[in-house]
Amino acid sequence: MLQSIRHLGATTTAFVYHLGRITLFALAIARAVVTPPARFRVFINEIFNLGVLSLVIVGVCGLVVGMVLGLQGYNTLVRFGAEESLGAVVGLSLIRELGPVLTALLTTGRAGSATAAEIGAMVRTEQLDGLRMMSIDPMHLVVSPKVLAMIAVMPLLTALFIVCGLGGGYFVGVNLKGVDAGSYWSSLHANVVFSDDIAGSMLKALIFGILVALVSTYRGYTCAPTAAGVSSATTSTVVVASVAIFISDYFITALWGV
């Protein structure tokens, strides 16, 4: 009994401790970002690693999610004779919810885990200490370009995911199920509003990008310098970032009605 209460206390303390550390870590990144010189070459390479290499998985998943939405949406709407609204159903669910969330989850699995493992391996092989020996701040050379690149690619990947999904929904709805092509697009156009739906979607993508970037670099940077440490940093990146995405998604939707 006492043991379980003690365990609860330790968990709570650890949570608050990590929350404080990650905030300080974010401030250190912000300071490193504004410190010259700008690491533009590293930033480009990170966009390649995090963005371009995630492109195929994001595109394929977007297409398939759109196709599933087209099929499910059609089967539900046809019961009410409202299959003309398929475009709006596919578009609004992709833009407002599924696009940002699924892209963030995919990017966590594909790029966030890789980031944590890479920085973790650098910690383990004392490469970061080597950089410090040469009086190069690893926050400046290693961490901050990764964080910036992750924040930059997330809205782009989300937009590509949504466009692929709209294409997938169009293919299933119009080509396979025989919904009129014009009513698919017109219901989409009539129901999606830029200032509400698209801007909100991009806001979500931006916040998720910041979350994934912070969690993955923090977990990698603070991992124990052992093989088990690197593996647990990778695992906890995926778990913590995914849970954080879902929780923050609820609050963004509740607060701003996106």
Partner: protein, 155 residues
């Protein structure tokens, strides 16, 4: 160096593709217009607009010629609807506007019925003749009322 420039090209293409996707979503799907003076603004006052929403299509003979820009309450408690239509449109001054529904449960739209006058409407002018949206509940209410009168009549 060669490998580096190939990578730059790929990254550039990726960013370009992302921005094009974003532009497509914003401009085409989201209906964000960069220019605000492209269309001709016309006004119409309705007694009842039903479920008409901004961005609803404005049609003539079923062809889309514009969209509803804004809806607000006028001083005389009627609904003032701002229509953004094609500036090339030569609409006679005695044209009328009605709010109709596409299908039984579909979205509402505005149908313009061109009149026969020589003079045409210019930007900022008002369409005088309007026909309000049909409220289904009111129609059913009227129907029930009428059948009751018929039943009561012979007695």
């Amino acid at each position: 160096m060669n490998q580096g420039s190939t990578r730059d090209l790929i990254v550039g293409l990726f960013v370009l593709a992302g921005l094009i996707a974003l532009a497509f979503l914003s401009l085409s799907v989201g209906g964000l217009s960069l220019r605000n003076n492209g269309g001709m603004m016309l006004y119409a006052n309705f007694d009842q607009i039903g479920g008409l929403k901004p961005r609803a299509p404005v049609m003539i003979s079923g062809v889309k010629v514009g969209q509803v820009e804004m809806i607000k309450l006028a001083d005389d408690f009627r609904a003032r609807v701002e229509l953004d239509v094609d500036p090339k449109l030569q609409l006679p001054v005695d044209s009328s506007a009605s709010i109709l529904t596409a299908g039984l449960l579909g979205d509402q739209y505005i149908l313009l019925q061109p009149g026969g006058e020589e003079a045409v409407l210019k930007a900022g002018e008002e369409i005088e003749m309007t026909e309000s949206a049909v409220i289904l509940e009111r129609l059913i209410g009227q129907f029930i009322h009428n059948t009751n009168i018929e039943k009561a009549g012979p007695e």
